[in-house]
């Protein structure tokens, strides 16, 4: 599973404060920590209450790149902020995210084509998050077809089937699993899939246990990537073990170390 480290996000108080005070310390520390613990991408989000999201995004991209060579996943609903970030990225980035709605798809896919970026595409539209797998797959197909019209290959897309907290919408769980499996049948090459892992456990008491259980179940159903807490060692060990069970890595006694140390 491709690990997108979630920690550089203005939702966290230390990052919000760092942005406000223009203090690169906490941002760079989290960049290094997540890379050290096995992240493959770093999610960059200025947070919901940033007064100047474009400037904040530019600053976050610059200071993060000073500390880490990992590719970035630019996370914002404000596309001007994403575009400003894309211009500064040293390596091809990921855009997070776009729903199956016009004109948002037009804006994001043309931007992705221009900068060679991958795109996280959400299986939702103006009507919200669908209840069942079939509607999610329908939206995924719409996203793949629209991206294709902009010259973006399906394997540049990471479809997020959108998982709801398991204490709120338990019936979504099996639908998400089925969606992950069937998305692979939409096209050849198939689109990739991603989930925001911690959504599934919001408001529950056993957050870490639920997160890692969901991670390995989703992997068994074909999940390619996750926006996760890369510093949750138990989670990373569970993902490493799932990769062994799924025959994605060749076993050796040090397989957990090998998985988290891949970037070192």
């Amino acid at each position: 599973m491709i690990i997108i480290g979630e920690r550089i996000n203005g939702m966290f108080k230390d990052i919000a404060k760092a942005i406000k005070e223009q203090d690169p310390g906490p941002v760079q520390e989290w960049a290094r920590k997540q890379e050290y613990n096995g992240a493959h991408y770093l999610d960059i989000n200025v947070g919901p209450s940033s007064p100047a999201p474009v400037e904040a995004m530019k600053w976050l991209v610059e200071v993060t790149q000073e500390a880490s060579d990992l590719p970035l996943c630019l996370d914002s609903t404000k596309y001007d902020a994403i575009e400003a970030g894309l211009k500064l990225c040293k390596r091809p980035a990921m855009i997070n995210s776009v729903p199956a709605e016009m004109p948002k798809m037009e804006r994001v896919f043309s931007m992705a084509a221009e900068y060679g970026a991958e795109v996280i595409a959400l299986a939702m539209n103006e009507e919200g998050i669908p209840k069942d797998a079939d509607s999610r797959i329908g939206l995924a197909a719409e996203l793949v077809a629209t991206a294709d019209a902009f010259g973006i290959s399906p394997d540049m897309l990471y479809i997020d089937p959108l998982v709801l907290p398991c204490n709120v919408a338990q019936d979504h769980g099996p639908e998400v699993m089925r969606t992950l499996r069937e998305i692979k049948l939409i096209s050849d090459p198939a689109p990739k899939t991603v989930v925001g892992l911690s959504n599934v456990s919001q408001g529950t008491k056993n957050r870490e246990l639920i997160n890692r259980t969901f991670a390995v179940m989703a992997m068994a159903n074909g999940l390619d990537a996750g926006i996760v807490d890369a510093n949750d060692d138990e989670l990373m060990a569970a993902i490493a073990s799932a990769r062994i069970i799924l025959n994605m890595d060749i076993y050796c006694d040090s397989y957990v170390d090998v998985f988290v140390q891949r970037n070192r």
């Binding site: 060749i250 050796c252 006694d253 170390d257």
Partner: protein, 325 residues
Amino acid sequence: MAVEILKEKYRSKVGEVVLGATKDQGGTRSHTITVGGESALPFLHFEGEIPNRPVLALEVWDMVPGEWDPLFEKHYADVWSDPGAWAKKCVEEFGADLIQVRLKSADPDFGDSSPEDCVATVKKILEAVGVPLVIVGCGKAEKDNLIYAPIAEAAAGENLLLGVAELENYKAVTSACMANQHNIIAQSPIDINICKQLNILIAEMSTAMASRIIIDPTIAALGYGIEYSYSIMERARNGALQGDKMLAMPMIGNVGLEAWRTKEANTSTEAEPGWGEQEERGLLWEATTAMAYLQSGIDIMVMRHPDALKVIKANIDDLMKDNSY
């Protein structure tokens, strides 16, 4: 309508390892040999690069190899009491790319020669030939651990390939290689998990050593489990091409040693007239074993019969012809 040929895309490639060092590089070899570097499955030149041809070593022992079949006498008896002359004959007459020196006489059951004797043998062979050397111990770990360091030190700068490291006994030989910048043979018993783990352990001792490892997956001869070693090597190579760095090393195999352990190679013509003439049968057993391993991605093969080496050299010439389209 034109047919689009699907080609496999690989994410990664096998690391390259240089054996030997010339005078400019601090050694005394006449040339170096580079192995590995493949970015596709064996000889699929149309899917990637096979930058270095597989190379062939011949075995030289530091004592008369009493256990070899008598038919080898006519090829080696004139030189096998002198390792330097033996090595020279292998290179000049038989065309070996490399020499693998087996310090068999260090074995407490065969002569128990001292580390100083072993060093003297290695020096003698370094003087006799200009090709890079592979040096292996007698196979008894307690004794071999005493000879690695003096040899590594005496041959400092020569960029040897020294072995073997095993899961239960890798520290002495790894330290010897680290201290004097030699390459190392990491041997595992036909087991991909141990193969990978051993590479990790060596790399943990020194990250620089990770790019100096040659994998010896332990091979079997045709008819004696060749399919097991073949599939392990195939899996290691696929892993390497998919990005598993701890398996992305070139591989070596003792083809001659294994082939000449079989009854098919060692049974005399008189004992089994229906099997055909022994020497031809034996060398073909060795050559056929080698041909199979070429297809598994092997980079260095240690041969024994000079004519088997000739057959395989010609086979490699054919396989290295560009077939890209």
